[in-house]
């Protein structure tokens, strides 16, 4: 591996070894403390524009498994891992991490004191940096200082969704495969029968997914529950979405600052969707958008929450769940939170009745599956509202 440097906005330089793509990159450095799930991390569109640091030193152990991708490409601009593994071992492994990064033009940096770097980010906050192959010049430092993640949503959301959208049957097949793989016939032959789930179509569940950089697992969770899901690009109008006649609307995760100017039209669209009284479920960026559509504001966190171990408390039930998170901004909830982060008290969920949202990732991938029940909650609310509507005789 050739020599590589990481140059930070604050002037610090780390010397390590470069891998992956052979190009220098600048980006916002963020760290994730998740110990596994690197494939899901790399393919999560929310990491657009960023250089991701893994605090766990051994990454790449189980190789690359495309089945586990959350989108069709790798999103971070750079990837920092102390000891990337190029001799992976797993029954599903197809190729190694280095190959993946090269394939997607992502630069990797290895062999630096990753903990020291994570501490700098923790203490000084998220900052920009550049992975380079030589010592930085004044020009490089200027580039680093000026770098900004802009138009993030537009860059990750598909504008030609209708062309690449898979037919429902195909999506159901994938979902069924996922379900089956995870619960094959046990040696005893008894447990598997209990656990066997069939993916079927549920006519009540017609879901419009406003894709602002959605992870595949969000859609899959709904398909598993029998939904038909249609994806809409970030700039779809409320009328376009409503014309699909959805019974529920999902607001996906996505990258960047929710308060970025470019996002204003999306929030306007969501305001209209809220007025339609259709059940809405917002996740991560979708949660922030929903909050803003309801008049709340957001602010940047010092270094964000990126991990698979964030405790979230349901203030109504008192229960705590471990969640997977990836966000750099929080909603200022003014005491309206339904869910809060146990560690720092930040807003983790809002409930407006017909619409509700969570800051974390109930679809996990990677990370704990403790909160997948929220998709059931979404389904229940849709069903309840369908019932009310049919008894009222009002169908949109």
């Amino acid at each position: 591996m050739k020599k590589g440097f990481l140059v930070l906005q604050n002037g610090t330089v780390f010397e390590g070894k470069a891998f992956g793509a052979d190009k220098e990159v600048v980006g916002e450095i963020v760290f994730t403390t998740a110990m596994a799930g690197y494939l899901e991390t790399l393919t999560d569109p929310s990491y657009y524009g960023q250089i991701v640091l893994q605090t766990f030193p051994l990454i790449g152990n189980y190789g690359v498994i495309e089945q586990d991708f959350e989108s069709d490409r790798v999103w971070p601009r750079g990837y920092i891992v102390k000891y990337p593994c190029f001799a992976p071992s797993n029954f599903r492994s197809e190729y190694d991490l280095d190959t993946l990064l090269k394939k997607h033009g992502v630069t990797g940096l290895a062999d630096i004191d990753t903990r020291a770097l994570a501490k700098i980010i923790r203490q000084e906050g998220a900052m920009n940096g550049k992975i380079m192959f030589k010592k930085p010049t004044a020009k490089d430092r200027k580039e680093i200082a000026e770098y900004k993640v802009l138009d993030a949503v537009a860059n990750v959301s598909k504008k030609d969704i209708s062309r690449i959208e898979q037919p429902l049957e195909q999506k159901q097949e994938i979902a069924q495969d996922l379900l089956d793989a995870m619960r094959v016939k046990s040696a005893d032959g008894t447990a598997a029968e209990v656990a066997k789930t069939e993916v079927k179509t549920d006519k009540d569940l017609r879901i419009a997914l406003l894709d602002t950089g959605s992870k595949r697992a969000i859609e899959m969770e709904m398909i598993k529950r029998g939904a038909e899901v249609k994806r809409f690009a970030y700039n779809a109008s409320a009328d376009e979405i409503l014309a699909y006649n959805p019974t529920g609307i999902l607001l996906s995760n996505g990258p960047g600052d929710p308060a970025e100017k470019a996002n204003a039209p999306i929030i306007e669209t969501i305001k209209k969707l809220v007025k339609s009284n259709i059940t809405i479920f917002g996740i991560c960026l979708g949660h922030q958008f929903l909050a803003m559509a309801n008049g709340l504001k957001s602010r940047k966190l010092k270094f964000g929450h990126r991990s698979a171990n964030q405790p979230v408390k349901d203030l109504k039930s008192g229960k705590v769940y471990i969640t997977s998170q990836n966000h750099g901004y929080e909603v200022i909830s003014k005491g309206k939170s339904w869910l809060v982060n146990v560690n720092d008290g930040t807003c983790e969920g809002l409930d407006f009745g017909n619409s509700f949202s969570v800051q974390f990732h109930p679809e996990a991938c990677g990370g704990p599956l403790d909160t997948t029940f929220l998709f059931d909650k979404f389904v229940d609310r849709i069903k309840a509202s369908q019932k009310t509507k049919s008894t009222n005789g009002g169908v949109r």
């Binding site: 596994a36 990753t114 020291a116 203490q123 005893d188 698979a308 008192g318 229960k319």
Partner: protein
Amino acid sequence: MPKDKSLKKVMLIGSGPIVIGQAAEFDYAGTQACRVLKDNGIEIILVNSNPATIMTDKNIADKIYIEPLTLTTVKRIIKKEKPDGILSGLGGQTGLTLSMQLAKSGFLSENNVRLLGSLPDTIDKAEDRQLFKDTMIEIGQPVIPSRSVNDVEAALEAARVIGYPVVVRPAFTLGGAGGGFANSEAELKIIAGNGLAASPITQVLIEKSIAGWKEIEFEVMRDRVGNKISVCSLENFDPVGVHTGDSIVVAPCLTLADKELQMLRTASLEIVDALGVEGGCNVQLALNPHSFEYAVIEVNPRVSRSSALASKATGYPIAKVATLVAIGYTLDEILNQVTGNTYASFEPALDYVVVKLPKWPFDKFVYADNKLGTQMKATGEVMAMADNFEEALLKAVRGAELGLADLNHPKIEKWADSAVRDALYAVPTDDRLFIVYEALKRGITLEEIHSATKIDRWFLNALVRILNAEKDGASKAKRKLVYKMVDTCAAEFASDTAYFYSIQNGTENEVLPFIKASKKKKVVVLGSGPIRIGQGIEFDYASVHCVWTLRKLGYDAVVINNNPETLSTDFDTADRLYFEPLHIDDVMSVIEVEKPVGVMVAFGGGTAIKLAKQLSERGVKIIGTSADSIDICEDRDRFDKLLEELNIQRPPGTGVWNLDEALVAANQLGYPVLMRPSYVLGGQNMIIAFSDDDIKEYMEIILSQKLAGPVLIDKYLRGREIEVDAICDGEDVLIPGIMEQVEATGVHSGDSISVYPTINVGEILQKELLELTRKIAKALDVRGLINIQYLLHKGDIFVIEVNPRASRTVPYISKVTGIDMVDLAVKTSLGQTFKKMGIKTGIAPVPDFVTVKVPKFSFEKLAGVDTLLGPEMKSTGEVLGIGRNLREALYKGLVAAGYKMKKEGGVLITVSAADKEKIVPVARKFARAGFKLYATAGTAKFLRANGLETQQVDKIIDNPTSNTETLIESGEIAYVVSTSEKGRDPSRDDVKVRRRAVSQGVSYVTSIDTANALIESILSGYTEETFELVELNTIS
């Protein structure tokens, strides 16, 4: 919701003596629990028969009962103390089983005592194999096909249905004792039979073997409202088939994709939910390496060895949190003490890798079966942390005190290629790791090794990297170490916990600000490493007490240790903890960064003392007794010279380096002779030789290990053994206790029943012992502790051994005398004097009680090991009996050690020629007590000649159908008394008899003196209902 206000007094049952499968981790857990209770204003009633524990210290618990852990005794204590609740999940399997028996019999509710933690229903569902399986099937969790059976015939039938190979798992046993693999009916007959005998409810599970699958564990925590988290995932280097206690284990899982990991994590959480666990729980799962197929192996609904490991691996204090949950807190109410600003309801994130390596006793038990299977055989373990697997593994190997600095094993390096290859395909042994490494060196392909061993290719690739680095000579060009912090959160939150491990590849040294921030003088305390036979929990007790005193005196106490089961490696015991191998290089690296005023080597057993010389040579100050004095005690010539100068006798002897010298020396001295290598602890490789053949056999074994000094040969003198623990300030000597051993010399002091205060040591003799001790201590310029073993032989006093350090008896003598020996030792080693402290010296006054330390063995876990006691220590733990007189103390001690104390039945006597005379009065006592005497021909003849009615029994070799073994199996025998000059070889008749007694659970003794003590205490008439309960605070 905050804690339950109605709890004012809580009882905690400890785990008793250290045995294989239940080691120091429960002292660590129990002590943590006590602290939590104390912080919550709850009065603690502690019951534990093990006196070497910290939990039985007066500053830890309020009322302390060092009493037998039997149902009857615990009931009596409950009646007396009337606690409001009883904690069930922190005293290992022993504490849990007792608590369940108390709860299920209705005793707890009758006495208004609440069971704190998981309910009996939960425990049953987790521990009863069939109930567990039913519960798993109910919630859709896959299990391995199996059947519970209660006899051998049903076992065979079950295996016919399930198909071979099968695993036999006995119900309700520790560390899977009595289980194993069976490939055929013939094998199953034997293994099922043993398993049924080992199970207290005569039940075994016959289960389909899934050998070769990955073994994964999750340590989970659940509170009463159903919040649940996974503290840590653990992956076994060895696939399913080797008990997890005997496996190399890594944390977190390293070869699982997130999909597999989350599937198993979710399964673990669903399981604890279904069981309704409240507190810590360990879930073991098997994962097919070729699919998502998995099976739940078992759960332990309590704090366990794995949870101690997970606590140290992550910084998450499982025992503390489990206790808080038991007294009513929910996880989100419990502060994470490591970060100080997050809560227990989160999952630790690691930014390093943890490797656990077991420590086995096979170096001592050369005839023991060292094959690894479903029955745990390790006595202890080491843990190592680094930023990659290779470094952590090498640290673990260095720290395991195998005499190895890396993965090159001198013994295996000598093997032929074919032997290395064959070993890969054979049942794994304790050498598996080194065999695999040697195989790579010999060019056997990774694929072949993988297919033979089923060890994941990822781990094998890591070994290849170690090999390549070695070839490159990279290991020689060592980089300067930096220290990183264990903070539970991978740097996400600020933390000021001074818990560190080293890495080679780092730029920031996180310990420096901690060192700079303290103006105090620093003292490094070396811990005692892994628990092994001869070096048990006593040395952790001493190390922790040393730290406490240093901190009290205003020093920064810095601990280096690598045993995850201990309190000394708790993150808040010392001012700074370095979780590092106790190897000279690793220790020096810490010393370079800490720059301490000195190092304490006297409290960490042989592990620490062995480093004294090397440290001293490198210019490091040894606090207390000098490295040179330590060397005098170990160097035969120097020691002899010293005794000569002091005009003190010792049994004649000499040091030899090879077989020829040994034979000459032995013949000059005259047989029998005592042989041992220098620098030993627990009599490692120490034997009594009766002939040239013995010398040849033993020299070969001893010389197969690297010798740090000559082999010592002494004339063996049979006499009475007296042990003295003393503290010296350079001028005056304080003897807190003189102990007398029940067994004659020849039985290692660690395996002897030891009595304090002495019964047969008169005032004159005591004065002589004090004088001798003073003379020796002063001559060695001892500052701190000194332990001397004396031999009384025909009216003369001989010195057998001098150890200028903390001994095994320090905790128990400290407890019963009320003299904090370690505290005084630390103070004197730092220069304080008794005069200045105003402490009276000489022999301390004795209490009104008699205390008896009884050893506890783990022979049922170690097939092939002779139970005959000798100069080499074999016990794994000890218990204490405290009584008004010797007989009562003996009775209590024997009950606590597991002797069944039957008052009727048969006694089988088979003794060596030398013991025939001595057995007569003992046999007479048994006969008088109404026992029926059985004996082998020679012994029977002798007993009859002395007027004792004796039934003669044939030896096994003489009569295959009716012999000593079948007699033991018949259940007619209450006690076996078996002695012989020579044991060890498992094919010998007398060894077989003793092994049969072990497997049948028949109480046995292997020395006439022990037999006498046994019958004396039976004759005393004490029962579990009548002996006096002694609360420790009332005696000292």
